[in-house]
Amino acid sequence: MAKIDISTRDGPSGTVILKVGGSLDAHTVPKFESALRELIEKGKCKIIVDFARLDYISSAGLGVFMSVIDDTRGKGGDIKLVNLTDKIYKIFELLGFDQLFQIFKSESEAVAAF
């Protein structure tokens, strides 16, 4: 069965770091979506998602980012992605997601881009 690990912590300059590990698929996506929406509802809209420990993402996982990104941008924030594995970066590139989301190699680069 797919497992997902999610943790959040406050980062510098009003950012929040959301770490996701394991698999983000149709089964685990509701848990991730709740965590993301909870941050936005609390007004924490400068979100950095750390993919370092993410092994798998399906279209359901990609879809969550698409459905909430404008909510963060509308409130002066954004969702920036960091530490994508080569495998997941390639998928983002092939599907055109690298044109829609800012992707960085490290958390500090993402913080500086807000």
């Binding site: 069965m1 797919a2 698999s23 698929d25 149709a26 089964h27 979506e33 798998y56 399906s58 279209s59 359901a60 990609l62 879809g63 969550v64 698409m66 459905s67 909430v68 990104i69 404008d70 909510d71 495998k87 390639k90 998928i91 092939l94 599907l95 055109g96 997601f97 044109q99 829609l100």
Partner: protein, 151 residues
Amino acid sequence: MPEVERSWRLEIPSDTSRLADVRDFVACIARESGFAEEDVYKIEMAVDEACANIIEHAYRGEKKGRAARIALEFRVIRDGDRLEIVITDRGIGFDFDSVKPVDLKSHIRQRRSRGLGVHLIRTFMDEVEYRTVEDAGNQLRLIKYIRDEWR
């Protein structure tokens, strides 16, 4: 004659809890067939999307949860550099060809989270065919070729 032809029948709960097992199973087949890791991942994702669609749409309206089970039949045919995976289900058919190419920016504007699965399957597989056969169920045929540069 195909080099290898194998068939499996998987009976899984009619929820998405076992998708990880389906992915592991397909990744093994793709690796054994000689695909590079990048393509193994694409095949894994395409099959995952197909099975998630079947679970969520083909059996919609039926009892959900672990008690209810559905059967997915897999036929895998390896012929030279060609891998064909046929997934058969006996749920409600789906008009695969009516799904239009996805405009990602429009998805974002509409805050849509769904509807990417078919786009992903078409992007990652070399050939895709869907048909409903009377008395035989719905068949999704996914074909991928091993690229020469990986040999």
